[in-house]
Symmetry: C2
Subunit: 200 residues, 2 copies
């Protein structure tokens, strides 16, 4: 029946194109939209447009934000000498939940993965080097995922940053279980990993 | 961090308001939207608006459709003497997958549930009686879910339809496991249930 209702099918396909949403769930979600009032549906559509329109990358840390400079970079109370390098904005969210880290971030937007055509120049490494060249940063904490690709990226960065004699380069401790993803780690594990960070 | 990005938070809330979507998944979906191109996001928003705009109830069977009369009611090849009563458009989808049923449908849009304020007059029973009064229908198959509320609705309908001497009222056989929902039943179970339907 759904195949007859083109607009329902089309909406289900849109939901199905989102990360982690299967066919059955996508159809359920499309039906949920039909149960909304016209106003709620219009609001929903508007939320999609607005999120795309308003959210861009912070020119300093490359994290997503809806302001000129993201609230973390703009916060005068944060330690501007320490920068934590993460692969993804979601990891910043997880780190911020720990409420222990007071430094800044740098979001790479990916990890090195030659198989998928992601070479170092596809990441925000140039922006990182520019920041370090300004001279204020004294410690860089590499917080990529403890996966093969995350480790390779950490290795690459540690070599790249050796050129800066006065910058300490550390890596999150192996409190985070190998093969997992930082964005799903619990606060305590992340806190331990942060505490036990070591030179690289 | 997400709490700083109002438009992202708002989008995640919209996704979270859909049936069966938890908080974590809603946020993942919102991030998925950020990964879309502007065009894809606009398409997605448009799909929501269009589904709401174009889809309405078929004036005959009360199923959802984007045409004047739904394709099933409009199909001359179908048996117009038999009507299958279901609670929900999703059940029509499941029944149609069996490819065995050739009659028409009537969608109640709910089941009797006094606890939730759903009394018989909130369902599409008046429209059903109007159809039966036209005199063409000879058999009504009650295919509500085999749950407490579905059974109560079946009971109510069977009593209501006793007034029509020349209309046979049947119920799906208990091929469908008790306590489950028809929309998730597999084709074979539904087929058996259809085959073994009995007088009520």
């Amino acid at each position: 029946m759904a195949e007859y209702i083109e607009s329902l099918q089309r909406l289900a396909e849109k939901f199905g194109s989102l990360q982690g949403i299967g066919k059955k769930n996508a159809m359920k979600m499309a039906f949920s939209v039909l149960d909304m009032t016209d106003e709620e549906a219009a609001d929903f559509a508007q939320a999609i447009i607005e999120a795309k329109e308003k959210i861009h990358l912070c020119p300093i840390c490359q994290n997503i934000t809806d302001r000129d400079i993201c609230p973390i970079c703009a916060d005068e109370g944060r330690d501007r000498k320490t920068v934590c390098i993460v692969s993804d904005p979601k990891v910043v969210m997880s780190m911020e939940k720990v409420r222990e880290y007071k430094g800044l971030y740098h979001v790479l937007h990916g990890v090195i993965s030659p198989m998928n055509g992601i070479t170092p120049d596809k990441l925000k490494t140039r922006e990182l080097l520019d920041r370090i060249n300004e001279g204020e940063i004294k410690e860089v904490i590499i917080a990529t995922n403890p996966t093969v690709e995350g480790e390779a990226t950490a290795m690459y960065l540690s070599r790249l940053l050796r050129a800066f004699d006065d910058v300490k380069v550390t890596r999150l401790a192996y409190g985070v279980p190998m093969g997992s993803y930082l964005e799903y780690a619990d606060e305590i594990t992340l806190y331990r990993a942060l505490e036990g960070r070591r030179d690289i």
